[in-house]
């Protein structure tokens, strides 16, 4: 059986032989993903797949076509090359073709943990069992996942890179009379997932939530826990620092301006040691440690090769694989501060402690205003103490304005990596104490 690197080389060779004048790029991704899912306190769905996908891009006579296959034998690769070339000859002209990535070394080949790559269903079940047991009879649900990615990229311009990485993530809730509390984290190592500790923590958190009271909607001072903060990071990545959307004037980002509080520093980082992530993008551009916001000042955008051309910039290694959508950060890190969560809560006279956000959607792309709901636990903070569980709210809030100069009153000291949904991405941030969050509706309407 061919390795992922060999498959990339063979597909590139086949395409170049068939069309020597073409610009050709091949990306190979081999992913083993194992996910143990539990609900009503037992494992009910335990799944795995082992998939290799070969993606081929051809630019020929001013026209571009891309195709992929999971059939990686000689026949499958030959068919992939034949139909991609046939499509390239028939496709409409592509005057915006940005060319292939030039040879450039990787800053990292990825963070691999051999034990996680080899983890068994029984090992994931042990993590789940420890979580369920720690909930002491309360209903639980969630998943434990391990993933092993091996990738290779090669193009006719001479760029050839490969890498390996692992991820292990856990998402669990403990339920008490219809109320939920949660935990969520991702690492490169399964050994970092302590089911018993996580279960005990969430079991403590859920206590009292079932007796939540409803408070009126309105503007509240808030402490957002890392899971809630991750939603800000996701939306900044997808709808803010996207170089294509910025070029089309569809983003709130204004380079060089102090758009955020000085306490905010935002970096995209898939390459530092221990980070969950893929070390290059789908165009073969090495990922880098890119500072997007430094001490409140917006400093950079994410680019793929096409958006870079639009903006007169260079690719930052952020191709999402979807040219229509444009580039996207997948490993945002909001720098930690120096306050414990208890200290953040302690500095609030009256406000809300919010665990998580749910189903957030953009209402106004230019202000990045979203609506969504709270989930998995809200508490009223009075005179520095979380005193009373509160029912969920609906909110409508412009995210950048919530972090604007003077609006960030404290930053937590522990940045917690939250799993992206699938793949090898992570959103890492600490708890935040914000001056205001606009809650526009209550659970009852």
């Amino acid at each position: 059986m061919m390795s992922h690197v060999d498959i990339a080389g063979q597909a590139l060779d086949l395409a170049q032989r068939a069309a020597p004048e073409a610009e050709v790029a091949v990306g190979v991704a081999h992913t083993e993903q194992w996910l143990t899912r539990f609900a009503t306190s037992f494992i009910h769905q335990n799944v795995a797949d082992d998939t290799t996908t070969v993606a081929l891009t051809v630019h020929l006579d001013g026209r571009t076509a891309a195709a992929s296959t999971t059939l990686t034998g000689a026949d499958g690769l030959r068919d992939l090359v034949d139909r991609t070339l046939a499509s390239a000859k028939l496709a409409p002209a592509d005057p915006s073709w940005p060319g292939l990535s030039s040879p450039a070394p990787l800053l990292s080949t990825g963070t691999l943990d051999e034990a996680t790559a080899a983890a068994t269903p029984a090992q994931r079940a042990e993590v789940v069992k420890a979580f369920v047991d720690a909930a002491q009879g309360r209903e639980t649900a969630g998943y434990c996942r391990t993933a092993h990615w091996l990738g290779a990229y090669a193009n006719s311009a001479g760029q050839a890179v490969s890498g390996q990485a692992t991820a292990a993530d856990f998402d669990g809730i403990v339920r008490d009379r219809g109320a939920d509390s949660s935990t969520r984290l991702i690492s490169t190592r399964l050994s970092d997932l302590d089911g018993a500790a996580l279960g005990s923590q969430v079991a403590r958190q859920v206590s009292g939530l079932a007796d939540a009271v409803e408070l009126p909607a309105g503007e509240y001072e808030v402490v957002l826990l890392p899971a809630a903060v991750s939603d800000l990071l996701i939306n900044f990545a997808l709808a803010g620092f996207n170089g294509k959307q910025h070029a089309e004037k569809r983003s709130f980002v204004r380079l060089g301006e102090p758009q955020f509080d000085p306490a905010i520093t935002l970096i995209d980082d898939a390459v530092s040691a221990g980070r969950v992530g893929v070390p290059y993008d789908s165009e073969g551009t090495p990922r880098m440690r890119l500072t997007l916001v430094e001490n409140g000042v917006t400093t950079a955008l994410c680019h793929d090769r096409r958006s870079a051309v639009l903006s007169g910039a260079v690719s930052t290694g952020h191709s999402s694989g979807n040219a229509g959508f444009g580039p996207a950060a997948q490993n945002l890190v909001l720098s930690a501060g120096d306050r414990t969560v208890e200290e953040l809560i302690g500095s609030v006279r009256r406000g809300l402690l919010v665990t998580d956000f749910w189903y957030t959607r953009v209402l106004d792309p230019l202000r990045l205003t979203l609506t969504g709901l709270t989930r998995n636990g809200v508490w009223l903070i009075e005179d520095g103490h979380a005193t009373t569980a509160v029912k969920n709210f609906r909110f409508t809030q412009a995210y950048p304005e919530a972090l604007a100069p003077g609006r960030v009153l404290g930053v937590g000291s522990a940045a917690v990596a939250q799993p992206a949904r699938g793949g090898l991405g992570a959103w890492t941030g600490p708890a935040l104490h914000l001056a205001a969050w606009n809650f526009t509706g209550t659970a009852s309407g």
Partner: protein, 477 residues
């Protein structure tokens, strides 16, 4: 070696490894999509995927394993691995899980298709998108267009004797115009943001006549930049057919998924406000509300011959004259709930575990027309074409935004309104529905997310315009 033989080998291997039930799906799928912007093609993708996914039941837990290798050796290994994974689930066991009894079926089914969408020349499809988006760009907006095609063949075998092959062709297309103003962007789409989709051939796209709507939506996007904002307050709300599709999908379709009701999706997708003890008696909406689960509708996106457990497509009611009477179920969840039907279990590919999914969940026609509804409304707001959607994890508290709104005054449409939004609580909202059109469109939604690992479902939603009383509109930051 046929695909049935490969699937049979996988099932037998799972049984030999200790599974008390197993099934396998061999799937081969070709997809094609194209995106264009302002007269240029941004993306042309043609993907091919093939493999076998094996589901094994050991004790109370499913094991599932999938490989992109259609050799019998790989299939047998996949069957053994699925059983081994299921066996590991017994470390955290649940109550005994049985499957609803079913008769083994041997069958073959294909979706209707007059013009093979993969057979239409790329140049012709590209010309459609470049010409249409260039026309919109000529009106000073960002013009975008997309089409998507899926051609799926699958061969299903179960340890109970099922042998079913299906060939399902789906496609669709849409265009959108984005006007960028000072501090604001406005978007108009036709026929909806991502387009219209069905289990149909390219004739669906031809019938959309995208070009005929390019200038109109571009002009509307511009007009929205200077239109007055949707006023805030409580009013009579008229929803157009496309927004009704979204309303049904989010606040009925997901709520009646039995796996959610049973708590099997509690950590991620969420649960449901519905309680099984009220099935057959709970008032969901007004007497105008008749919701069907109907995968037999020719050409609708959620149609099939058999679901991914081998259950034949059958029409049934979910809500009848406003009363909740049915759910979307599978053979395992139905058995747990004491129900006698499944039929709504699907996977988005060979590498994913089949799970409860919407098929075609839609509203049966009412007695009115949209014109009659407008004419009967003294003061209200009309909204259509979804722009944003958010709903809580019990599928109860929602806030939806639309691309366009209009005042309704004294039975006539008035000024255009920008940024229209409305919010409500599901059953309260549905009980306020007092007029319903019979001008139904079977909308297709190709982007329904659910499950871990994530799956993207294709669902259909017959929907028509309707009127709702005392709805809160115009929620802003």
């Amino acid at each position: 070696m046929s695909h049935f033989d490969v699937a049979t080998a996988a099932v037998q291997a799972a049984l030999d490894a200790g599974a008390r039930y197993a099934d396998a799906r061999v799937m081969h799928r070709r997809t094609e999509s194209m995106n264009a912007r302002n007269g240029e093609i941004e993306d042309l993708n043609q993907d091919e995927s093939a493999g076998v996914g094996v589901r094994a039941l050991v004790g109370s837990g499913w094991g599932f394993y999938a490989v992109p290798d259609l050799s019998t050796t790989a299939a047998r290994l996949a069957g053994q691995t699925a059983a081994r994974i299921a066996a590991a689930s017994t470390q955290v066991p649940g109550p005994a899980l049985n499957l609803l009894a079913g008769q083994p079926v041997t069958a073959s089914w294909s979706s209707p298709c007059r013009v093979d969408p993969l057979g239409v020349p790329l140049a012709e499809k590209g010309d459609l998108l470049t010409r249409t988006t260039a026309e919109m760009a000529g009106h000073g907006v960002i013009g975008e267009g997309v089409y998507q095609i899926w051609d799926t063949r699958k061969w299903f075998v179960s340890s109970e004797g099922h042998r079913i092959d299906q060939h399902i062709r789906e496609c669709g297309a849409g265009i959108s115009a984005t006007a960028v103003g000072e501090g604001e962007t406005q978007r108009r789409s036709y026929p909806s943001y991502r387009g219209q989709y069905g289990t149909s051939g390219w004739e669906l796209v031809t019938d959309l006549d995208l070009g005929a709507h390019a200038a109109r939506i571009a002009d509307e996007a511009h007009a929205l930049l200077t239109a007055p904002a949707c006023p805030a307050g409580e009013t009579t709300l008229i929803l157009g057919s496309e927004q009704m599709c979204l309303q049904i999908h989010e606040s009925v379709g997901h709520a009646i998924e039995l796996d959610r009701i049973l708590g099997w999706e509690a950590a991620f997708a969420g649960t449901s406000w519905l309680d099984l003890s009220q099935l057959g008696s709970l008032r969901y909406g007004s007497e105008l509300m008749n919701i069907t689960i109907d995968p037999t509708i020719p050409g609708a996106l959620g149609s099939f011959g058999y679901d991914d457990e081998g259950t034949a497509a059958v029409k049934r009611y979910a809500v009848r004259e406003g009363v909740w009477v049915g759910v979307l179920a599978g053979r395992d969840s139905a058995s747990v709930a004491g129900l006698d039907y499944g039929g709504s279990v699907r996977a988005d590919g060979w590498s994913r575990l089949p799970m409860v999914r919407m098929t075609n969940v839609g509203m049966e026609p009412g007695p009115h027309t949209l014109d009659e509804i407008i004419a009967a409304t003294g003061d209200g707001v009309l909204m259509d074409v979804n722009r944003s959607w958010s709903i809580d994890d019990k599928r109860l508290n929602f806030q939806f935004g639309c691309e366009i709104g209009y005042e309704v005054k004294n039975g006539k449409l008035g000024r255009m309104l920008r940024n229209p939004t409305y919010t409500g609580i599901g059953p309260r909202f549905w009980q306020s529905m007092d007029m319903l059109s019979h001008e139904t469109t079977a909308w297709g939604t190709p982007n329904c997310g659910k499950g871990q690992p994530g799956q993207t479902g294709h669902t259909g939603h017959p929907a028509a315009a309707a009127r709702f009383r005392n709805v809160r509109v115009g929620v802003t930051a």
